[in-house]
């Protein structure tokens, strides 16, 4: 899948760049953290599929297996870019 980045936008002022929808951020649309895809892009497993296994380390440093940890409860799993920036 050949995915293009959405570079539409304009520089409004130093460190103020708007994207195609008018959101303003300190980096230009289509660069680094603003590498938004144009058109169709991969979004992972589909509705109706079992959520794939997730084994990762939590903020206390403990290894966690999500399907085990959820103990039969429904899950909301957010993939975010960064808590730091």
């Amino acid at each position: 899948m050949q995915i293009e980045r959405d570079t539409r936008g304009a520089e409004l002022a130093p460190n103020q760049y708007e994207d195609a929808e008018g959101y303003i951020a300190p980096l230009p649309a289509g660069s680094g953290p603003r590498s938004n895809p144009l058109g169709v892009f991969p979004t992972g497993p589909e509705v109706g599929e079992r959520l794939p296994d997730v084994v990762a380390v939590d903020s206390d440093g403990a290894t966690l297996d999500l399907h085990e940890d959820r103990e039969g409860k429904p899950v909301v799993l957010v993939f975010t870019r960064s808590a730091v920036w």
Partner: protein
Amino acid sequence: MSDFEAAGAKLYVLSYDEVDALADYKKAHGASFTMLSDSDSEVIRSFGILNTTIAEDDHPWYGIPYPGVYVTNSEGIITQKFFENNFTVRPGAEQLVAAVKGEEFTLAERPATGEQVNVEIEFDGADLPIGITRQIVARFSVPEGMHLYQEPVPEGLVGASIELDGDAEGILPYTMIAPDTRPLTLGTDGHTLEVYEGNVILRLPIAQNGRAITKDDDGRWVTISGKVRWQACDSEACLLPEEESFNFRVPAAFTVMADMGPGEGRVPSMNGATHFKKMTDRRKTES
């Protein structure tokens, strides 16, 4: 107790940040959800959502996912997912809680065939920060034997939709959330359309980009206006198309931004700048 806990669900947030960065975030923001560190982007890759438009040596940005959310049922099967092209936009908590709870609304009595469709329109949040979606929720009670149409529809019919006014500056619509439809083949020409029946809930996530905030003595505000449109038909005939306008004036909330500065604003510092440098340096030495 968070709304997610009250709904009997568990909320996990996964990112490529290091464990110690997540620990600082949790301490600074007091988050009640589980934060997971995927610092080599292994889970991100296993889900197939690594952002491959970013060059491998573009540090520290390489390794981030196409951001989005999966909601499952108690069997661990995905029931909804939310991904948008604009990474600045994230689904609000109300939208995610509604997705995990599901919603059935039952009327004491469905309107009889030929009677009016009743609609209730609601804005599901108390405010609207920048880049976080809240929903315009339209609840339709469709009479027995009648149905609404899913867009697209042929000329002459009006599908069920929630639309923002054309001049609604600064407010962006995102992917509508709607119930399953059933296919209905029209007798006249064999055309098959998808229809909604019974109690139908449509949700339009919307977000603001910050450009249409108005200020007065009472604070900062944003206005969300538009129309809900629909047409109800039975197997033989249709009622006239209808529409109902909405206009919500809500407080424009501040967004909690990632804190890269030395403890600016009301949120305690999470040493963002230090973690950012560490993440960048680590990737530079590895590559």
